[in-house]
Symmetry: C2
């Protein structure tokens, strides 16, 4: 398979151009205004899979955005790899913080990517990383070196909680049957420190609404005499953490997996510079749960963050008003063993209980998913590890990620197979933020590494 | 002066039509998008004062919106009344809660106004109440019964803190010289319970900005490890009140005027139904500072309310982001003796002090003004009281208002004269709220009562 590196070199510009075309389509699944673009993106992905040599390319309708399926079955006796990815992207706002329009991709060098990075919403999460698999497939079919069977399942609702994927997977167990699931939707520690994500956090996302008086009121005539829903909401949210930044929801920590000192010692070995971390975020101090390091706080510990808050007058100038309603979007990142539906219920009950007299509280669950851990002694992990050794020249480090890919645990439950998370992005790639980008080097390195995974997995899978 | 009631009856429809025309112009001083409309409103007011028989009508430019001045000097030896009002209005949002467009006035009956009320932004605050004085002037000039000199000063920046009025007053002390200032920009207890406002609260309005990381972050990768500016802002705001709803800013209460038990007993005599109050706001309980009644909380006690809050993703659906910045607009209502600039400084210092490591805090003072109390034994108060007796058939009750008209104390300081607050609106008129309205009965009653004030003030002023 030596010729993969040559193939990548020879086709480098085309690989970049094709990805750029895909990035131009604003497939924002959270905003219905982009509905048509999101559907068009599914068509483009299907087309690219056909060109890559897949058979049975289908655009499977759902109640939301379609799931693109494709496969190439070369021998029923060979193992099957199921590749999962998503073609939808996060909303790009705040737009004014982008240095170039989010859907007009440009290539610029950065400190981490001196050879250039592609700037666009979805460049890394997940169009770029998903497309690495399409191009790796192209290489294997064009060069007749596909060692096993392959199936692709690319969805368009990952950024809104994969609301229709679960139903699709349950109804298509046979069609999706596989020996391992391969996903590139995570990151690695550094370009010279390859890593494989072995753990993901779960998620519970809710929206809360606090209603005080039945109309907006003059803050002079009513100020001090009625519950101000914004003041009340801030009190309620503030009370969700204690002075040690532990979450105060009763029962929240009951099932949290406590890592052993050895495991924590292992984690601590991953290269990490707190100063560089603070510098990159321009903060004078980190902040979080007492008793845990930064890398533990954002990977093995559950968290509660307000993702959005609004209420009252937020326009130009001043308005002396007491709003009738205040709102917040709140998400909790969960660790293995915490059940997201149970946590959502605990939150709802607690938040309703702490509402003071004089206001009404509504808690609307948005979506969620379970956390996940994959064993490093599995065939899939070993195959991935050897693939990285081939292309990076060093053994990757197993790493827990703070992010969530809710459907990973669903896959295991429904398809009875483990998922391998081969991520090629960097933390500094600003996914979910303005100026998201993906290093050209990382993109090409991913395309180069993936075929080795197929080779080693087929060899090791006996 | 008996013929005033006849005059009002005969001209009722015209008085209503003229006010409706004025209400159609969206003079939103807080929003620069309405700049032209706001300037046009000044022209319309000036025109109406000319028609009412004023001399020397001027549109005086300022660094912001112009101040309309007009006068009629009949005899230097007679007393002079200075009428103040404002032609700008509050922003109308939230628009979706209006039952009819805020700048397309309609007349509909309400429980408090069975004979009909004019629904429009500014109907009561303050175009309607200001225009009562224009029409009362028209009556007195047309019927040659103006008993004294009159000056009008109608500004266009009251809803944004009268930012340029202070300079104008300081530079025009001579021109504005008067024996009493008359303002209708407050309310009365009920249509059958006339009242005169003897106290106003001061105001300090600030905007705060909390900055965490230098960009929006993925809440999975960073959640729990960095200070989330929204979580931090809620903690900071929540800490501004203790468990008794006392404000925790050091020094905040140092100069607060404490009323005697007798004064509080007097206040308690004003007719008030807590059940009706809760019912009208659709709340199951009132809320406020421990140890004080509802009427005390919103008049003689200082308060702190969040008027607006925003940060993070507030669009449709879900976005798992940690925002870089969070904002809030916060106003404090102050009582006599509290200096608004001193309180603003106390707030700024305290808010900056309670910011945790990991965030930067910016406090931007918006505007403010001092509280005010007028003695009920003054000639102006007595004249107003007798005027109400004439038209309402009963003696008005002196009442403290929770609202603020910051310039009232400025007038006393610069022009050395007392202000009389003859308000004809009702609490239920929803000023600053959607569906603001002003009772037709109240509007006409105001026009009828004002000339009597001129008569009695001239008689009593020796």
């Amino acid at each position: 398979m030596q010729n993969i590196s040559t193939y990548v070199k020879d086709n480098k510009q085309r690989f970049i151009d094709e990805l750029i075309e895909l990035l131009k389509i604003p497939s924002i699944s959270a905003d219905s205004a982009y509905k048509e673009h999101t559907f068009n993106t599914a068509d483009a992905v299907a087309e690219s899979l056909k060109k890559a040599g897949c058979d049975n390319v289908e655009i499977c309708p759902t109640d939301g955005y379609p799931i693109v399926y494709a496969d190439k079955i070369i021998d029923k006796n060979l193992p099957t790899v199921l590749v999962y990815g998503h073609y939808d992207v996060q909303p790009p706002d705040p737009l004014d913080l982008w240095h170039s329009p989010p859907f007009e991709p440009v290539i610029k060098p950065t400190d981490s990517h001196p050879e250039g990075a592609i700037f666009a919403r979805g460049a890394c999460d997940d169009k770029g990383q998903m497309y690495m698999h399409v191009k790796a497939m192209e290489f294997m079919t064009k060069n007749n070196c596909l060692p096993c069977n392959v199936k692709f399942m690319i969805e368009g609702e990952e950024e809104v909680g994969s609301v229709n994927l679960g139903k699709f997977v349950k109804e298509n167990r046979e069609k999706l049957a596989n020996d391992v699931i391969l996903i590139s939707d995570t990151g690695m520690i550094a370009k010279d420190v390859p890593s494989i994500t072995t753990g993901l956090r779960g998620l519970s996302y809710v929206e809360v609404e606090v209603t005080g008086p039945n109309r907006d009121l003059h803050s002079g005539l009513y100020g001090g005499a009625v519950a101000n829903p914004i003041n009340v909401l801030t009190k309620m949210i503030a009370s969700l953490h204690d002075e040690n930044n532990h979450i105060t929801i009763p029962g929240f920590y009951d099932k949290v997996e406590e890592l052993s000192q050895e495991e924590r010692a292992q984690m601590a070995k991953a290269p990490f510079s707190l100063d560089a971390y603070k510098k990159s975020l321009d903060i004078d101090a980190v902040y979080g749960e007492a008793g845990y390091t930064t890398n533990e706080r954002n990977s093995i510990r559950p968290t509660l963050d307000v993702n959005g808050i609004w209420g009252g007058y937020i326009g130009e100038g001043a308005k002396t008003v007491i709003a009738s309603k205040a709102y917040a979007k709140i998400s909790m990142r969960l660790v293995p063993n915490q059940d997201w539906e149970e946590i959502t219920q605990l939150f709802k009950t607690h938040f309703e209980n702490i509402a003071p007299e004089g206001v009404k509280v509504l808690v609307k669950p948005h979506h969620g998913g379970q956390g996940y851990v994959t064993p490093i002694d599995s065939v899939g992990y070993q195959a991935a590890s050897k693939a990285y050794e081939q292309t990076f020249g060093k053994t990757p480090i197993p790493q827990r990620s703070g992010g969530s890919i809710p459907i990973v645990s669903l896959f295991e439950e429904q398809l009875k197979s483990k998922t391998i998370l081969m991520g090629f992005g960097l933390d500094s790639d600003a996914i979910h933020s303005p100026n998201e980008h993906f290093g050209v080097w990382n993109y090409l390195k991913g395309i180069e590494t993936i075929p080795y995974f197929y080779q080693y997995f087929t060899e090791l899978h006996k």
